[in-house]
């Protein structure tokens, strides 16, 4: 019998599709909707120590295959988050807690504050391309910073730690190795790309209020696949491939490049909340056609021969 069950960091997933952070991850209600639509696991929207308003609108728009956002890590802060996510069991699938900070200490503080929430893993994005003080704009994507932050977080929790990287890093495999060495249990590859900018020609103004924003959606799939392929050869811990997955075909490519988990965010925009069910079915249909029985037969095969 064909199965797309996936064992990821001890989580038993009905399928490898994981809701990416920042998309519909604002509440238990929103994540339950995604779980009901077929996601194997879900990730909460990233939480910081203090409440953050984020950037002004417009924070999102799309052009064809390109989706751009500059939300700017709006979130209610860890104290509110503790209330918001108190009953995550209701979601019905494993839940990954996403935690951000400007200093290593901040990550630790948030993880400790959210300690009672029954997350199945903690994800640490070091990679947002459009929020001052965080991610790429704060230099968190260097091998040194990745090592330092992972190390600090490692001490703060016994949950599996997923470090979320940026495709921009010129020394990507070195960053991945640094995170692995510091105790990361998995790499999420990765965040939005760019940043990019589009200008409204009639007003002469950038469309996003923050002017620049991260890029997601089908246009970034090729770069994500390449990044997953590159780091697969240099680390031993498993990889979540995130960025542009919209169809079963994208998902299979990402697995062939070496991803064990599959992050899906903007896919919701292009295909609806049930993009998870749709992709899962597309994977199964293809496996059936090809005579594959489990995902093990697919993962990493692009590296053969």
């Amino acid at each position: 019998m064909i199965t797309i069950k996936s064992d990821f960091l001890g989580m038993k997933l009905s399928n490898p599709l994981i809701l990416a952070s920042g998309i519909m991850g604002i509440s238990v209600g929103s994540m339950k909707k995604i779980a009901d639509n077929g996601a194997g696991a879900v990730t909460i929207k990233s939480i910081s120590k203090e409440e953050r308003l984020g950037h002004n609108n417009p924070t999102m728009f799309s052009f064809g295959d390109v989706f751009m956002n500059a939300v700017g890590y709006s979130n209610p802060g860890m104290i509110e988050a503790k209330k918001e996510f108190s009953d995550i069991d209701r979601i019905g699938v494993p839940v990954i807690g996403s935690v951000i900070g400007t200093k290593a200490d901040d990550f630790v503080a948030v993880i400790e504050e959210l300690g009672d929430i029954r997350f199945d893993a903690i994800e640490i994005p070091l990679s947002c391309p459009h929020t001052p003080g965080f991610g790429v704009l704060a230099g968190q994507g260097t091998p040194e910073a990745a090592y330092r932050i992972t190390k600090a977080v490692r001490k703060a929790t016994r949950l599996p730690i997923i470090i979320k990287l940026s495709a921009n890093a010129p020394d990507l495999t070195i960053v991945a190795k640094a995170a692995e060495k510091a105790g990361a249990d998995a790499i999420n590859m990765g965040n939005t790309h760019g940043p990019g900018m589009r200008i409204d020609i009639d007003s002469g103004k950038p469309i996003l209020d923050f002017k620049v924003g991260g890029i997601s959606g089908p246009a970034i799939t090729p770069v994500t696949v390449r990044c997953v392929y590159d780091i697969y050869e240099s680390i031993k811990i498993p990889i979540i491939g995130t960025g542009g997955i919209t169809t079963g075909r994208d998902a299979i490519e990402m697995m062939m490049a070496g991803a064990l988990g599959l992050g899906v965010g903007t896919g919701i925009y292009y295909r609806g909340f049930d993009v998870f069910k749709k992709i899962a079915n597309e994977i199964k249909d293809w496996m059936e056609k090809k005579g594959h029985l489990s995902l093990k037969e697919i993962i990493g095969v692009a590296h053969e021969g």
């Binding site: 984020g54 924070t59 409204d200 009639d202 925009y269």
Partner: protein
């Protein structure tokens, strides 16, 4: 693939409707717009907010807004030929009204109902406001029922009183469409329940994407921008957040009254 970016349009006209209430007119670029759906309105370098459509004409649309905070102040101050951006339409609108549909709007909520009021029997529209000078479309819908909280125009009291009168008097009412403050809509739902009438309400939440990606507009288990903003009352009954909580920009859940206060200063 989809395109969802602000279409920059020249302002055709700005008209004053009532005290602090204005309508901005732009070219109609809304394919297949259904009243109750909304658009995102962008003022370059300022902000972008969701609005209903109050005038739905072949060539142009009107958006009626109350001057409350920074955004609406800017908008009211713009001139003919200035550029604003429109994206959408988004969400799910009202079903088709028939001749026995009652349309009931309070405050700015009237604005997204106006295109429906044009379709129903004149006397089936109920329009309320706090005071005469804030009453919308007094001249546009001359035969509608009007109420003001302070009695300065039409009947003194809440719109809901007229609704109750009508429902108890009339048999033929098929359904009630409603948009206004949640406290009013929640009262309308109660009344409709009592008289066993179908009821559709239009919810309002702070929005970022407008198309079901960010989760900002969640109300309980409902994605307001995408599964709404128009809901049949049975779909919000029991929703622990409707008429109780809404999310401010950070995503923090606060009582609706705090939300409305915050929104008014935005």
């Amino acid at each position: 693939m989809r395109d969802d970016y602000p279409r920059s349009l020249e302002i055709l006209e700005i008209e004053k409707e009532a005290k602090d209430l204005f309508t901005v007119f732009v070219k109609n670029t809304l394919d297949g717009f259904v009243p109750g759906q909304f658009v995102m309105v962008w003022i370059p370098s300022v902000d972008e907010k969701p609005f209903g459509v109050s005038y739905l004409e072949k060539d142009r649309i009107g958006i009626t807004f109350e001057v409350k905070g920074k955004f609406t102040k800017k908008l009211a101050g713009m001139k003919k030929a200035d550029i604003i951006g429109i994206r959408g339409p988004y969400g799910i609108g009202f079903p088709d009204p028939d001749s026995s549909t009652i349309v009931i709007g309070g405050g700015c909520g009237v604005s997204s109902l106006a295109p429906l009021m044009e379709k129903v029997k004149k006397s089936n529209s109920i329009i309320g406001a706090r005071s005469k000078d804030m009453l919308l479309f007094r001249n546009r819908f001359k035969d509608a029922h009007f109420t003001t909280d302070d009695g300065t125009f039409g009947k003194k009291g809440f719109v809901t009183e007229i609704l109750e009168e009508k429902l108890s008097a009339l048999d033929k009412v098929s359904q009630v469409f409603c948009c206004g403050p949640e406290i009013m809509m929640s009262r309308v739902i109660e009344i409709c329940k009592k008289y066993r009438k179908k009821c559709f309400i239009s919810m309002e939440r702070y929005m970022k994407c407008g198309f079901g990606v960010c989760g900002q507009c969640m109300c309980g288990d409902k994605v307001v921008c995408n599964e709404g903003p128009v809901f049949e009352s049975k779909d919000v009954e029991g929703n622990p957040e409707f008429n109780h909580f809404a999310r401010i920009k950070s995503g923090k859940k606060v009582p609706v009254s705090d939300y409305v206060r915050w929104r008014s200063c935005e």
